[in-house]
Subunit: 754 residues, 2 copies
């Protein structure tokens, strides 16, 4: 089909004509153009203004440029320019209208007022355009085109309109503004397409691409953005290179570390470069005749060397990779030891981070280099994602992040052995003749349970003068009043007691910080230093607590499936990973957790035992369930996460709320397949008298936790919370087996290198 | 103006008619309705289908229901139903079209296929509706109405369309989904308005309100949301009550702590209740005759007691408050000690968190209760916001959060005195007769500088067998090989050295964790335990580093101004706060930081000194600038944040990159008014030989940091980073003076209570 667009010289250069030409080019409609006077155009078609379309069958049309664009698009053979199907067509129509009403009209008004426009008009137009752009940006979050998965006239009309708007400085396609990240990507794609550039030169397409950012696309809200952002990378992150097809054909710079370097005949180098932004490395090709710095690159020592590479991104001719970089300039930043990978050893080995697979055990010994390996890098990316998801989940739900203290003086939790924090050993480890101050006064009798009860009664009458504990001076024991804090300082085992103080005032709070256990355990599930997340909710009971925990865990799983797709796929296929990983995670996401009481669980286990299931420990009411029982319930009986509640009070902490039966407490442990216990929580005992009673029962002086008891004296409220070991969550999400592999620098008995 | 809508009985009940009636009601157009057969309607107006509009002047109209709605709206006297001005009118038009194309068409298609619809059709419709809703939701982020600040037919058309969509279960106005938080608020407002309810009963308006969440509105992106969210609060957060006018007239439940309780004549109680979600408390009125639980409430003990209150939210007749709660049921959760505020003391005082203002010093002694005070609660909300902004800033910029270790064995940083972490003192502080293992072997000579140089040379040839330091056994010194970690463990003073290992693999990383100083300082600017943020960027130099720091600091300031507006206003007017706080912050936001070298700064200071400015320390090149110099530059000379660079190498750490002059290093400190130094950063020495040289110059055995040196052997890259003391940032943002007041439980020499 051939057609002619006749217009005044100005009209043919207008954005209206550009829309029509772009549609024609895109739809392979052969469209001639002809310049004419306004009168001549009227004579072609009475309804025409300054543009008229004549088909080769003689029919002529006037009307708006949008209408003419639609006409031209309708001439295209077998194209989907108008949208596929009625629904898409309606969408296309409505966006074409949107381009006119929300951009063209206002831009033209502004142009018409050129120079004479009042500041208030300019402001108002700018505001309108801003918000129209934000609507488009949101619309473009899940998709690359306005409608469907192909270019339509909606894209064309809007891109032209936005180009005019950019010319009027109503928005900046080269900005770094988060609020326009999607629209800039789309704009750059459309305006740099052939059909578009034929009609006009692209607007700063390269700049726009070079500064657009692919990360966080799904997660960009409308947070305040720093105006005039200063920090710009002098490279494109490799993750972004892969994410944005607009880079193809562009010259870009990347930087990173060599995963492999292959030489072919002295004239070719293939460098797989990785910068940690994603798991996949980018294939870079250097040619002796084409690449500046070729000779240096050859002497880099290969795996582990660092480069900055500039060149053109091309669609790869090779199988299995989408793009590759044809390197124009190779800048060797750092060779592997003197260019000779055998010249230096680490821990008695050659530079170890090569293609050759080392054991994870060995990599722990060179933890400073292990982020350069695929497994640890992926684990760290997942760890970051889970930390961010945690903060996002609680923030979005109205929780405040409270930094509970690391050094504490409370030794009442019973959660585990504590490390001492002291300056009495001297700050220099080589200090000679360290002497510890020791009490010499006569021993003060330790309080008997009976005595504690008497004190509690007195306490209950509210008559004592101080509710703080008196100092206990045991001859021969270290006198910590001489230590830095004037008392014995310990590394915290949990932030819970502290965070409760803030829950009982700010209602919804959480901690996320390091906790410590001085236990000599060498299992794949325990560390001496690990991070814990502990939310605490006021005005809440055990059921609220379990609901929150289930929501939170599922949120993390969903976030990982969505945001860490590449790394989860890697773990699923890695020898260190887990087959069926994502199915296991989806199973968690899609099923409600099974909830039952400890007592019901014991009944199930007793029956199984009677039926011949072999347990090392015979199940009976009152025992602390060993891992074999937990796993049996989770993996064999229910095949999904299990929540056990209402444990015997004897095996749980003093602060858990006593149930009405007087035998159990309102505790809840969440068990998941593969890991076992991942979350432990409870409703807290908020009745002061019962709490004091429970302290004494457990052999704890209530005065040692005087401030904790205070919360129950002044406006006590029902409240609940739980704790989740962060590293166990990462094991759960990645499928890795050893907790030492999911934390940057693991600490355990005998190990605190680095 | 009077008009009549004639339609078939079905048509008059349709959503089309509902739009028309709602527009009429809203515009005060008197619109009668008349039922007729389809034939009769055709006879009224030939173009009519099943609805015809007749004006009282006899003119009749058919056409789409949207068209008829516009007509009716145009009849309204002095209304803005069609949008004010041409631009708004165009927007209104386009949204009315949107309601048809994006909702009505698909919903009708679905209805038409009722039951027979293929699953794929339902899925596709649902997907379309989902995304149209997300567009609307984005559009509604900054505004409460579709166009302008009043109801228009765009709101009416869309609300009716969405109601139909809800009836077809295409979306859920009562859900908790983050993705629809704005649209649900808007929907609830429109559908519960009089003009709308007259036409139809509101769709689950109450439920929708009760579960909608006001928090984070500005920040909600399109993060994955947990389906079927389980955790629901049994109360509305007070912040949400104030934020959402839709609660007015509804019965709601709130819970919190009494800030003041005033009794009036035995028949009235006025309770100001606060739940920490915001600074403002809600005024709640209980009447003896109206309020269940009135007698209990009277005996609560007043300030500090906790309540759950249910009642109707009404616009307040009293001055100075917008709304108040008329309480139907008052549930006393926790009295202040036995209902008698004099019955118990804390730290020797009556329950102290009352209206009476206590000193901040005193409140530190009862840190477990201070979150119940306005100052500390506001500080904690700002602290949370800054922590979240920090994570968001780095995450959005592609940085990974790395948890560097808390217990380290490196003692090389020189950043400050370290605490020892040990189990050699016993885990029980009352352990008797603690004996420390001590070396008895003959002393091994400490290495002289000459010897270190010789070793370094050997090292440089890459021939030594191990690059790890040999054990030093000094007789009389503690034998830490017997300690828990098999070596001396310390609390970290900085995560920087550790995080560099991950920057040299993952490129863009940051830490945010606790750090420690065992220094006996009692200033308002120092803590023994504080949190630090340390980003580290690969392929970056000092300028990149400063750019990043300036962006980050400004982001935090803007985030606070935007998201903590209420709390900043409070601090500005609090006796503990700072007059002109927000102006100071805006000044930081709006001006580029002044950058100059240390040498230039010294020249300025020397000139000032010569001109008679009184400094305690005479400025001269080579000194470590005291606070008086820093503040002079910042507050007197430049009156904005100042970045000082290129300090003498003697006063900076070994790892900073040596400048070409051999005298200075590429360090940068950022000084801000009020605080002084808030950020310290540097480009790192990435040249192995120079680093080793610098170690030796500073008296440090390079082997002690063998793994740190390793990073320079294997693909070294230029990199840089900085550290920001988090508590100083909070001081900077809140205007508070003492660092002990911006952390939940401050630790300093002699103090680790709680």
């Amino acid at each position: 089909m051939v057609a002619t667009l006749t217009g005044t010289p100005e009209a043919l250069k207008s954005s209206g004509a550009q829309k029509i030409f772009a549609a024609a080019k895109c739809g392979s409609v052969s469209l001639a153009q002809k310049s004419a006077s306004a009168d001549d155009i009227k004579s072609i078609c009475a309804t025409a203004d300054d543009l008229a379309l004549t088909l080769d069958n003689g029919a002529s049309f006037g009307g708006s440029s949008s209408f003419l664009m639609k006409l031209v698009a309708s001439l295209a053979p077998a194209s989907s320019l108008l949208g596929n199907g009625d629904k898409d067509a309606a969408h296309v129509d409505s966006w074409v209208t949107y381009a006119t009403t929300n951009f063209e009209v206002v831009v033209n008004a502004l142009k018409a007022s050129a120079g004479k426009g009042e500041a208030s008009l300019v402001d108002s137009v700018k505001k309108d355009v801003d918000y129209s752009i934000s609507v488009l940006n949101c619309h473009l979050i899940p998709t690359g085109y306005m409608v469907g998965d192909k270019v339509t006239i909606a894209d064309i009309a809007l891109a032209v309109a936005l180009q005019s708007a950019a010319e009027e400085k109503l928005w900046d396609p080269a900005s770094d503004d988060e609020k326009t990240v999607n629209i800039r990507k789309w704009f750059s794609t459309i305006t740099s397409a052939d059909f578009f550039t034929a009609a006009d030169a692209p607007v700063a397409a390269e700049t726009s691409v070079a500064t657009s950012s692919a990360e966080g696309v799904t997660f960009n809200g409308v947070a305040p953005a720093v105006k005039n952002k200063l920090y710009k990378r002098n490279r494109i992150r490799i993750k972004e290179v892969f994410a944005n097809p607009a880079y193809i054909g562009q010259e870009i710079t990347v930087a990173g570390w060599t995963r492999t370097l292959r030489k072919a005949g002295g004239k070719l180098l293939f460098i797989e470069l990785n910068d940690g932004s994603c798991g996949t490395s980018i294939q870079c090709t250097c040619e002796a005749s084409e690449t500046e710095g070729f000779e240096d690159a050859k002497k880099s020592g290969g795996t582990g060397s660092s480069f900055q590479l500039t060149g053109t991104l091309i669609e790869s001719p090779a199988d299995g990779q989408a793009v590759e970089l044809k390197v124009r300039v190779a800048k060797l930043l750092g060779a592997v030891y003197g260019g000779d990978p055998k010249g230096e050893t680490v821990g008695g080995m050659l530079y170890p981070v090569s293609k050759k697979a080392h054991t994870l055990e060995f990599m722990r010994e060179i933890a400073h280099l292990r982020p350069r390996t695929s497994v640890h890098a992926a684990a760290m990316r997942v760890r970051h994602a889970m930390a961010y998801a945690t903060h996002k989940f609680f923030h979005d739900n109205g929780f405040l992040y409270i930094h509970t203290p690391i050094v504490t003086c409370a030794d009442c939790e019973g959660a585990g052995e504590q490390f001492a924090v002291t300056t009495m050993l001297g700050t220099d480890p080589h200090t000679k003749d360290v002497t510890l101050p020791v009490y010499e006064e006569p021993e003060k009798k330790e309080l008997s349970k009976k005595e504690l009860k008497r004190l509690a009664k007195k306490n209950a009458k509210g008559k004592q003068e101080s509710n703080k504990p008196e100092e206990v001076k045991i001859p021969g024991a270290v006198d910590y009043t001489k230590d830095f804090f004037g008392r014995r300082g310990n590394l915290t085992v949990s932030g819970q007691l502290n965070v409760e103080t803030h829950a009982c005032a700010l209602s919804d709070v959480y901690t996320f910080g390091p906790t410590f256990r001085a236990e000599n355990s060498h299992t794949a599930r325990h560390l001496s230093e690990f991070w814990m997340i502990e939310p605490e909710i006021a005005f809440a009971d055990l059921e609220d607590d379990i609901n929150l925990a289930e929501d939170y865990l599922k949120y993390c799983v969903e976030y990982a499936l969505e945001m860490c797709a590449e790394d989860l796929e890697f773990f699923e296929n890695s020898p260190h990973g887990e087959k069926g990983l994502r199915d296991r995670l989806k199973n968690v996401l899609e099923n409600p957790f099974k909830r039952l009481t400890y007592t019901e669980a014991i009944e199930i286990l007793e029956k199984a035992y009677a039926d011949g299931v072999e347990f090392e420990v015979k199940p009976e009411w009152g025992i602390d369930l060993p891992s074999e029982h937990e796993r049996y319930l989770c993996e064999n009986v229910f095949k999904k996460p299990v929540v056990l509640t209402n444990y015997p009070k004897e095996i749980k902490a003093f602060y858990m709320k006593l149930d009405e039966d007087g035998k159990t407490v309102s505790a809840a442990d969440i068990l998941v397949p593969k890991i076992g216990e991942i979350i432990g929580g409870s409703q807290r005992e908020h009745r002061k008298e019962v709490l004091v009673e429970r302290c004494i029962e457990m052999g704890l002086d209530p005065k040692a936790v005087w401030w904790y008891v205070d919360l129950r004296k002044f406006g006590t409220v029902p409240h609940a919370g739980f704790g989740l070991g962060f590293e166990r969550l990462i094991l759960f999400i990645t499928g890795l087996d050893n907790i030492r592999d999911v934390i940057p620098f693991p600490r355990w008995a005998g190990n605190a290198e680095f």
